[in-house]
């Protein structure tokens, strides 16, 4: 969830009340935002102004700046009416022509003009901060949408949006004096902490997007940087907004939020000068921004049913007003309310969003607390968890301690360190941040050995076990499935093999599986057989565990037991002898 830093005094002035901390916390809680931090104490004795850092819902793009937070809270408190946004002048005076060349790189663009605006230092800072917040959140670090703001008086409309080879784009980027071509600009910002992370969006494209005025002066090279030429300052009175995008829905949301939040600083508040967008090749020709609210109808019966309320449609409409939604009972259907959704609320997608807003305005605390009527359901455990618990309890009762190492490990831990070849059955991660997490384990042994390593100072012997999931690739829908395994290890001055063998016997006894001295007679049971194929065991000290589920059935190999090879033990930085047993728990399902 985004956190927005706002000037505390300014916010309380906008709300028309000096709130105590408790009062303001309470207000935020009910509305669904949260004060993360109050810097009042921190800035005491400095000339910094106290700030509130407010966490807002991730889909409320209209609350990413102080202007929007104050507006939403003021409407919630009934202090103000929602603004009506309108065009001034009514018809576009200029245009932005989108060229077909932008199709392969960044095909959509919007524009708008804020005419006769007056910034103060703090509203100017807020304007810049809002763009930052939008860029990181909704715009996914400028990949989906990027915005640029320009001093319109430095440019000669109409504008074009096109894509050109980098060598043909020449301008001095923001806060630089030297004119460079786009190749040089990309090089210039390569190691820039802020801008460097956006270069990849266009870097490998043969053409870069660019916004030009009628004299081919560069206004911006989205999504990287604006030109210094059209830079806005505190004194700028006419702002040209350019928005370019790969996602046209989000581009519209962005331009709407910018004009909704900052048109209030225009001489005639809440007016926006529209721009004619000409984009014939992809049928996107239109007037921008589209300030027309949408209408979504919601069923009163649905809202009342979800919230267990008996509100009249009029009462619902009154509540919705607190949430910036203008609603009226439908004239044609006595179960519907027609809700007008302003451009500030693109988060409203379905009548469930309207239902939630009725709930918030009514107050979650005021809802009647009830219990679901149908309570007569029967609880039961997942069968494999029940089997797992039998393993766990039997092992603990036998004097072994349960450990819970991680499921992810390095490739070496799962294979090379155990002298296992990579059998291509393990799930491999594409984007781990560290080598600690390269594969999903296909054996519980590495985690157990790492746990013993971290507990080297524990009294010997160390007797530990885990019942946990490993994962193998397969042909299922997801391409891989879990398998529940049980593994135990004994680490001490001697190998303790017979103790591990005895624990296996105890487990088998718990699952009504006798040890078979004469496996060939076909009885139900288990036995172990020397097996030198697993190189993790000391030669001659490894065995397979064989299991026959029913009399007369063919036996299956369910795991292995043995004394680990000294080279394996040392790979895990251990100097003890270690014996292990690991079996597939699912045979007991």
């Amino acid at each position: 969830m985004p956190t927005i830093a706002v000037d505390k005094e300014d916010l309380f002035n906008l709300l028309g009340k000096k709130y105590t901390n408790d009062e303001f916390d309470q207000l935020c809680f009910q509305f669904g935002i949260e004060v993360d931090e109050d810097t009042t104490e921190e800035v005491k004795g400095t000339d910094e102004r106290p700030q509130l850092k407010i966490e807002i819902a991730a889909n409320r793009y209209d609350m990413l700046c102080i202007e929007g937070i104050a507006q939403a809270l003021n409407e919630y408190l009934g202090n103000v009416q929602p603004p009506t946004f309108k065009y001034s002048p009514a018809k576009p005076q200029t245009s932005l022509t989108i060229k077909q060349s932008t199709i392969p790189i960044r095909p959509y663009a919007c524009a708008a003009i804020l005419r006769n605006i007056k910034f103060t230092q703090r509203s100017y800072d807020s304007f810049i901060a809002l763009q930052d917040k939008l860029h990181t959140n909704l715009c996914r670090n400028r990949t989906l949408v990027a915005m640029g703001t320009h001093d319109l008086d430095t440019l000669k409309p109409p504008f074009t949006y096109e894509a050109l080879p980098p060598s043909e784009i020449k301008f001095a980027p923001l806060n630089q004096t030297k004119v460079m071509d786009a190749n040089e600009i990309m090089e210039f910002y390569e190691n820039d902490k802020n801008l460097g992370r956006y270069l990849h969006i266009i870097k490998d494209s043969p053409v870069y997007p660019v916004i030009l005025d009628s004299e081919r002066t560069v206004a911006s090279m989205p999504p990287i940087i604006n030109s210094n030429h059209s830079k806005i300052t505190l004194e700028t009175r006419n702002v040209f907004l350019d928005i370019t995008a790969t996602d046209k829905t989000k581009a519209e949301i962005v331009v709407n939020q910018l004009v909704a939040m900052f048109s209030q600083y225009c001489d005639e508040p809440f007016t926006v000068e529209p721009v004619q967008i000409i984009s014939e090749h992809n049928e996107q020709t239109r007037i921008c921004p589209n300030l027309k609210p949408r209408v979504l109808s919601a069923e009163a019966s649905y809202i009342n049913s979800c919230l267990a309320l008996k509100l009249s449609r009029e009462e619902m409409c009154k509540l919705l007003k607190k949430m910036a939604l203008a609603a009226v009972p439908s004239k044609t259907d006595d179960n519907l309310i027609d809700v007008t959704i302003p451009i500030t609320r693109p988060d409203v997608l379905h009548q469930c969003d309207i239902m939630e807003d009725v709930g918030i305005a009514y107050g979650f605390d005021n809802l009647v607390k009830t219990l679901p009527r149908t309570a007569a359901t029967v609880g039961q455990p997942l069968p494999i968890n029940k089997v797992g618990d039998i393993f766990r309890n039997a092992s603990a009762q036998s004097g072994w301690s349960e450990v819970m190492p991680l499921t992810l490990c390095s490739h070496d831990e799962n294979f090379a360190n155990l002298k296992n070849p990579d059998d291509s059955l393990a799930v491999k991660l594409a984007n781990p941040k560290t080598v600690e997490y390269q594969v999903v384990r296909t054996t519980l042994i590495p985690g157990i050995l790492k746990t013993i390593k971290e507990n080297k100072n524990h009294a010997l012997p160390i007797k530990v076990f885990e019942t946990g999931d490993i994962v193998y690739k397969d042909d299922s829908e997801r391409g891989a499935s879990n398998q529940r395994n049980w593994c135990a290890a004994y680490a001490g001055k001697t190998s303790g093999f017979e103790l591990v063998q005895g624990l296996l016997g105890k487990i088998m006894q718990t699952f009504r599986t006798p040890w078979l001295a004469e496996p060939k007679n076909g009885e139900k049971g288990y036995w172990i057989e020397q097996d030198d194929s697993r190189k993790m065991f000391f030669p001659g000290r490894g065995a397979r565990v064989l299991y026959r589920a029913k009399k007369g059935e063919k036996e299956q190999e369910v795991g292995y037991i043995g004394v680990l090879h000294p080279e394996v033990v040392t790979k895990f930085d251990l100097t003890f002898a270690v014996s292990v047993v690991e079996i597939n728990a699912e045979v007991f399902l």
């Binding site: 996602d247 049913s305 609880g379 301690s401 991680l406 984007n431 746990t451 971290e454 499935s481």
Partner: protein, 304 residues
């Protein structure tokens, strides 16, 4: 001595009762699993069936798309989610209509929603991930429920994976506790009432409910409880009613509504045992002495 009666004349050294005695050699269950068992018993006592969460690998489809998480959502970023190199691609679900419904509800104009209005890509949906929440399994179970929609209570406590930088409170894997109630005409008041009952079973009284945002629930509520030790309200869980955009594409009837909530297993456990670093509770760095000397995990006993 007893047989000969010589004890009567013998003199004995006095015992030192001011001592602990010899503790028996013993095994132990892991503290985190003991808390997990407490939660399981709470769920069983309330009629919940355990979900088959033994499936760490998911497709983007089940982990995100079915939950109405758009394909450009930050949660689907490489920074947050483990994507897989092998197997890199999953198969689409068997139910082709569900696949098409999901696409339609994202792209817009389906089931009463305007959708997110972006071109939904099947390839993105079939990228494999390590599940980021057990809600992927809840979605799978709810889809199954659509074949015979009847009131149902489901829960799970299992591992989830996040591609996060590891620190004192974050590990790349941790456990999620999740509950789901599907019922006809169930209400938000039911969710609040049920949450109070659920948390009272673990000794948490007087919860507060704050509106919040989750992509797949609406309304959504964070659950807060007063923490005496910290002297403040702390978030103990997240909850909500699943969005119609998630349920109706599955074929669930419109008035079959679903309540869901979740919390991490580690967080309440850390609070209960006073553990400040998650690596001291989960993973190979946990101290065996801590495991072996850990008392019973009674959730109803002063967790907060």
């Amino acid at each position: 001595m007893i047989a000969s009666g010589s004890w009567a004349k013998a003199s004995f050294k006095p015992y030192n009762f001011n001592s602990e005695g010899v503790l028996p050699p013993s095994g132990a269950l892991h503290p985190l699993n003991k808390v997990r068992e407490e939660f399981r018993q709470i769920f069983f006592s309330m009629g919940f069936t355990e979900m088959p969460t033994n499936q760490y690998v998911e497709s983007g489809f089940w982990n995100f798309d079915t939950l109405f998480v758009p394909q450009q959502h930050p949660a689907r970023d490489l920074q947050d989610t483990f994507f897989l190199k092998d197997p890199a691609v999953a198969k689409p679900p068997k139910d082709k209509e569900y696949w098409e419904n999901t696409k339609a509800v994202h792209e817009g104009g389906a089931f009463g929603s305007i959708g997110y209005r972006y071109p939904w890509r099947g390839e993105e949906s079939l990228r494999t991930v390590l599940r980021t929440h057990t809600t992927a399994v809840s979605a799978y179970m709810l889809k199954k429920l659509a074949a015979d929609p009847k009131p149902t209570r489901l829960f799970s406590i299992d591992k989830v994976f996040r591609n996060e930088a590891v620190d004192a409170t974050h590990l790349a894997e941790f456990h999620q506790v999740e509950g789901v109630i599907a019922d006809y005409d169930v209400t938000l008041g039911d969710l609040i009432g049920f949450m109070e009952q659920f948390f009272e079973k673990m000794g948490v009284h007087g919860c507060r409910f704050k509106p919040t945002y989750n992509p797949y629930t609406e309304p959504s509520m964070e659950i807060f409880a007063w923490h005496q030790g910290l002297g403040k309200w702390v978030e103990i869980g997240n909850s909500g009613m699943f969005r119609p955009e998630m349920l109706e594409p599955m074929g669930l009837p419109k008035n079959m509504r679903v309540l869901g909530w979740g919390l991490s297993l580690e967080r309440p456990t850390m609070i209960k045992y006073g553990v400040s670093n998650i690596r001291e509770l989960l993973g190979h760095k946990v101290n065996l002495d801590f495991i072996e000397s850990n008392p019973a995990a009674r959730l109803d006993e002063d967790i907060f």
